[in-house]
């Protein structure tokens, strides 16, 4: 059984891309934060770096909640109006 950890629940390509993007951002920003904080843990830069991690982590979680619990793709109403766009391509599972 393969588990598609990314794009699980996302209906449209645009949302799949957003999920992937957010995951990558989390990874990147955690690395950045660790680097920035190495010098001074109490610096403003360190605080801001971890705040960004929190922001992106929460966004990812919100998106996942919406997809898995509410079963609604955020692009739903946009894609009803614009089915031809790249981001509205439907993914096959």
């Amino acid at each position: 059984m393969t588990i598609n950890a990314m794009g699980e629940g996302a209906k449209y390509k645009g949302t799949q891309m957003t999920e992937k993007q957010l995951s990558e951002m989390i990874e990147k920003k955690v690395t950045e934060a660790k680097q920035v904080c190495e010098g001074d843990e109490t610096s403003d830069e360190c605080k801001v770096a971890w705040d960004e991690v929190e922001e992106v982590s929460q966004d990812k979680a919100d998106l996942r909640l919406r997809l898995e619990v509410e079963k609604k793709d955020p692009l739903e109403s946009f894609c009803l109006e614009n089915p031809e766009t790249e981001e509205c391509r439907v993914y096959d599972d």
């Binding site: 950890a5 957003t18 993007q21 957010l22 995951s23 989390i26 990874e27 990147k28 920003k29 955690v30 690395t31 934060a33 660790k34 904080c37 843990e41 610096s43 403003d44 830069e45 360190c46 605080k47 801001v48 770096a49 971890w50 705040d51 960004e52 991690v53 929190e54 922001e55 982590s57 929460q58 966004d59 990812k60 979680a61 919100d62 909640l65 919406r66 619990v69 955020p74 692009l75 109403s77 946009f78 109006e81």
Partner: protein, 409 residues
């Protein structure tokens, strides 16, 4: 629904007739309708009474404003979903607009995310060395102006903070709803905004529970580890303590979430102790109580009539003071396992503002898949939702002018 108050240039007497409903060809501006006395063909009365000016305010200019302070993202939180559900209908993002909008709209409610009032976008905050928690990253003047406008029935063009890109997007139009909820980190920070709120709630998650929840939230992410989750919480804590936490004392209701006391050394954060701290003396808000208002009660519902599984359920109720305010605290520790436990508990609570027996249970069941549906968080969020409905109905009925009686000339 239009509510009309009549202001007459002279006293309202029998020569002034008012036709219902307020359908007229003479609208001078949006909210004013002027009725002229029809000339009586059957011989006039003595004095001409002049025009009666009737000011109609559309239902939305009675917008009730609720503030919710929470550190869990915006407009998508479980609390908001439960709240909008109490009023009926599901809250959806505005159709046809920016798909990254944070706003949620249902029939009765509009939920605005206060992140939309960031004065600095992600890059700007990085440059200035300022977190999103810092007041310097937020435009309180704009927040105040727009909430004030919406409250008085005027639509506004509200900015959108795009969480994906971290940029401020072009604004979206927000029309005044019946109930406006402003949710975010700083709903009660600015005094002017605070004064606009008809009711305010603060969601106070203890550090241990916050840590446990964030572990559940983030551990599946490739970039995260226990260390990074911990580091993120620690780094934000100074700003959180300085700017967000102090808002608690202004809230009419605080929902405090703590680790359970029923299981020794529990650190999973799965079983929770939740306290609903309700301010006394708030207009249109009567605190929920157990058995005997104002007394102190400890209650374990599980026993002969009700069998519960481990670790059971424990309630506490009593008066207290909280940051110098008189409050009543209702507390639940433990979990619901079965429907009948929930109904049993509901039947023993008073002042829950339900419209029928079992309404709390019904609402909880409707969202059984939401986090917190089996414990005090779901229970108290649902109850607060019902109290807000009650508050809304009280406010709108007290603003309705006394019915005008059409009298015949």
């Amino acid at each position: 629904m239009a509510v009309c108050s009549a202001y007459t240039t002279q006293s309202l007497n029998s020569t002034c007739s008012i036709s219902t409903p307020a359908k007229t060809h003479l609208g001078f501006h949006q909210k004013e309708v002027v009725f002229y006395r029809r000339s009586s063909k059957r011989g006039g009365s003595g004095s001409s009474s002049g025009p009666c000016v009737i000011t109609c305010s559309a239902g939305d200019s009675q917008t009730v404003v609720i503030g919710l302070a929470a550190d869990s993202g915006c407009g998508k939180s479980t609390f908001m979903r439960r709240l909008t559900s109490v009023f009926g209908g599901a809250a959806e993002p505005p159709k046809g607009g920016n798909p990254d909008s944070n706003t949620l709209i249902s029939d009765m409610t509009t939920v605005i995310c206060l992140d939309d009032y960031h004065s600095l976008d992600r890059t700007g905050r990085k440059e200035k060395g300022v977190t999103a928690l810092d007041p310097r990253a937020n435009d309180f003047d704009l927040m105040y102006e727009q909430v004030k406008a919406i409250k008085s029935g005027v639509a506004v063009d509200k900015p959108i903070y795009n969480h994906v890109t971290g940029l401020l997007d072009p604004p979206e139009l927000i029309k005044p709803p019946k109930i406006l909820v402003i949710e975010g980190l700083h709903p009660m920070f600015d005094e002017r905004v605070r004064d606009l709120l008809d009711f305010s709630i603060y969601l106070d998650i203890s550090n241990e529970v916050k840590f446990a929840w964030k572990i559940q939230r983030d551990m599946a992410e490739r970039g995260h580890s226990l260390e990074s989750i911990k580091a993120s919480i620690e780094a934000r804590k100074p700003d959180f303590d300085a700017y967000i936490d102090p808002q608690k004392k202004y809230a009419d209701a605080v929902i405090e979430v703590l680790p359970t006391q029923l299981i020794p050394d529990d650190n999973e954060g799965k079983v929770l102790r939740v306290r609903l701290i309700m301010k006394e003396g708030v207009k249109h808000f009567s605190p929920v109580y157990l058995f005997d208002e104002g007394s102190t009660i400890s209650w374990i519902p599980c026993g002969r009539k009700l069998t519960c599984s481990y670790p059971g359920i424990k309630f506490h109720y009593g008066p207290d003071t909280y940051f110098g305010n008189e409050v009543s605290i209702l507390e639940m520790d433990g979990q619901f396992d079965r429907l009948d436990e929930l109904i049993y508990v509901e039947s023993h609570l008073s002042n829950i503002s339900t419209k029928f027996y079992g309404e709390v249970t019904q609402q909880m069941l409707k969202h059984a898949d939401f986090p917190g549906s089996n414990n005090g968080t779901g229970l108290f969020q649902t109850i607060v939702g019902l109290k807000i409905r009650d508050l809304y109905e009280q406010i709108t009925s007290s603003k309705t002018a006394a019915p005008l009686e059409a009298t015949k000339a």
